[in-house]
């Protein structure tokens, strides 16, 4: 058993006998209120979706899932096609990729993990750290070089991230996909 807080996006919990894919999980703790996790769940049997809240220390039964390395092959509208090293392709809808969608873009070469439940692909996990190029950001407002002052920026797919004030258009940056936060400036991928 795991606590609700330990259950991450793209994991599956068996709730009341039904497998539910956790598409999104937001942890909140404030004041005297119990720490809670707000989740978006998808029922893997009938496809129904629901928004739920759990106490962070509620116990959940995780389902062991099969995983396989894949790369993004192409995007066609809301369809995302991934391919494994044996050239098997796996098609997912944008709605199945909710937790990682902001960081998926054409041409990315990250080695991802396709997640399977009973032989069927249900989602894709990105590496913990990815490198992306900034498509747009304002110039440095304060000339800060410490990395502590942040400013908004956009990736080529339109995703907004906060980056260090010294970052410029065209720079490559590292992003933590668990939090969606900027980590550092990076070298262009080889």
């Amino acid at each position: 058993m795991k606590t609700a807080q330990e259950m991450k996006p793209n994991s599956v919990a068996l709730i009341d006998g039904h497998p539910w894919l956790i598409q999104k999980a937001e942890f909140t703790k404030s004041g005297r209120n119990s720490a809670i996790v707000k989740m978006k769940l998808k029922n893997l049997i009938n496809g129904s979706k629901t928004e739920t809240v759990y106490k962070a220390d509620d116990k959940m039964e995780p389902v062991i899932l099969e995983r396989k390395e894949v790369n993004l092959s192409y995007i066609s509208g809301d369809d995302y096609v991934f391919m494994d090293p044996e050239f098997n392709s796996y098609e997912l809808r944008a709605e199945d990729l909710e937790s990682v969608l902001p960081f998926i873009e054409e041409g990315m070469n990250d080695v991802c993990e396709a997640v399977f439940f009973e032989g069927k692909v249900i989602s894709v996990d990105l590496p913990t750290t990815i490198v992306r190029q900034l498509a747009y950001t304002e110039g440095s407002a304060r000339g800060d070089t410490s990395g502590k002052v942040m400013k908004p920026a956009k990736l080529s797919n339109g995703t907004e991230v906060k980056v260090a004030d010294f970052c410029e258009i065209g720079d490559w940056i590292e992003i933590d996909t668990r939090t969606g936060e900027y980590k550092s400036r990076a070298k262009a991928p080889a």
């Binding site: 209120n33 809670i36 629901t50 759990y54």
Partner: protein, 377 residues
């Protein structure tokens, strides 16, 4: 057939949790005609709020509410139509099993603590899928549309307004608790946790141009008060004076008496949740001592409330309010911010009254719970 409701309350500390659930239970009975059982694991604490209750009796009817002792060794009972676990207390497992087995479905609610933070509306009324086909809904009180609202009896504002426009009623109440108000004195109530900021406030009040009568219901702040006054231990009824500050210790008040105390005062210092909400209904300026949490998690909650409460105030009044509340909750000196606040007294008084009326225009918590149940059916 009246719907049956079970409210479970585990008394953690102080009288906040039990105060809220006792108030809610009575309102559900009085205003919605429901059959309510209130399960309490600390009967002596309940007797403080309801002196006519017998702490030895496991089942008793008080003001229309069936008050039941929640024993450590749970004895099976038929679950109610609606079950509220207050403040995420843990229901007995056999009771949960009985809920799942009940032929008629049970609405299971977790009534959470009050917060003004923005995430509350996004989580309010969401279900939590549980074993046995049960769903537990998280119900968040709050100050804005999309939350569960605040506890407020139907005629509370009218009662308060009538009281505050009747000087005789105020004097009669004060006399009933042994208080004689010095002519021209400002009247302040103080209900707080231990607070190192207290001495600086008392210093400011003592050295003020205007006399102040500070009324202090017995509670955790008395030790800090005693440390500032020095001298013999403070007992209920004790009256002391230093400079312009007169201090009187009051007995533990019933909820109705405490409301009248808040209505009577020009300014109220309150703590936790229940007295915080009641002070808002009093329509008078207030100072909130929030329940402290590790890692200062409570300060975000404090600021979230300030952010919505201060809307409409002048910049000067906003700054005075925020500075005072921050200093009070961080144990710093409040002397300067208190004097700053006094300069905006009339504006803050008018604002407090307008805030109460604005909040009263929203659905109250008990009515919101009942409506949620009706929608769920």
């Amino acid at each position: 057939m009246r719907a049956t409701w079970d409210i479970f309350c585990s008394v953690v500390d102080n009288y906040g949790d039990i105060g809220v659930t006792w108030r809610l239970a009575r309102q559900l009975v009085a205003e919605h005609g429901l059959a309510v059982r209130l399960w309490l694991d600390d009967m002596p604490a309940f007797v403080r709020l309801c002196p006519q209750a017998d702490p030895q009796r496991p089942t008793q009817k008080q003001q229309g509410v069936e008050v039941r002792h929640w024993p450590v060794d749970w004895l099976p009972v038929e679950p109610a139509d609606v079950v509220i676990e207050a403040f995420a207390c843990q229901l007995p497992q056999s009771y949960i099993t009985a809920m799942a087995a009940r032929e008629q479905k049970v609405l299971w609610l977790n009534l959470e603590y009050l917060s003004a933070e923005a995430w509350v509306a996004g989580c309010h009324a969401l279900p939590s899928l549980q074993a046995g086909g049960l769903s537990k809904f998280f119900f968040f009180p709050g100050f804005t549309a999309g939350t569960g609202g605040l506890l407020r009896e139907r005629d509370l504002i009218a009662q308060r307004q009538a009281f505050q426009t009747d000087a005789q009623a105020r004097h009669a109440f004060l006399r009933s608790v042994g208080v004689s108000l010095p002519a021209g004195a400002r009247l302040i109530s103080l209900f707080a946790y231990e607070n190192t900021a207290l001495a600086s406030w008392l210093d400011a009040l003592a050295s003020s141009d205007q006399a102040t009568l500070l009324l202090v219901p017995e509670g955790r702040i008395l030790n800090d008060l005693h440390a500032w006054l020095d001298g013999p231990a403070l007992q209920v009824g004790a009256v002391r004076q230093r400079g312009q500050l007169h201090i009187q210790v009051l007995p533990f008040l019933s909820q109705e008496q405490y409301d009248q105390l808040l209505w009577s005062c020009d300014f109220n210092a309150v703590r936790g949740e229940d007295s915080f909400v009641r002070a808002q209904w009093a329509g008078r300026p207030l100072l909130w001592h929030i329940y402290q949490q590790a890692d200062d998690a409570h300060l975000e909650k404090l600021d979230a409330f300030l952010a919505i409460y201060q809307a409409g105030l002048s910049e000067g009044a906003q700054a005075a309010l925020v500075n005072l509340w921050h200093a009070w909750n961080q144990g710093g000196s409040v002397a300067q911010s208190w004097n700053q606040l006094l300069q905006h007294g009339p504006e803050l008084s008018a604002h407090a009254d307008a805030w109460a009326l604005q909040q009263a225009s929203q659905v109250d918590l008990a009515a919101a719970l009942v409506q949620f149940y009706l929608n769920w059916l």
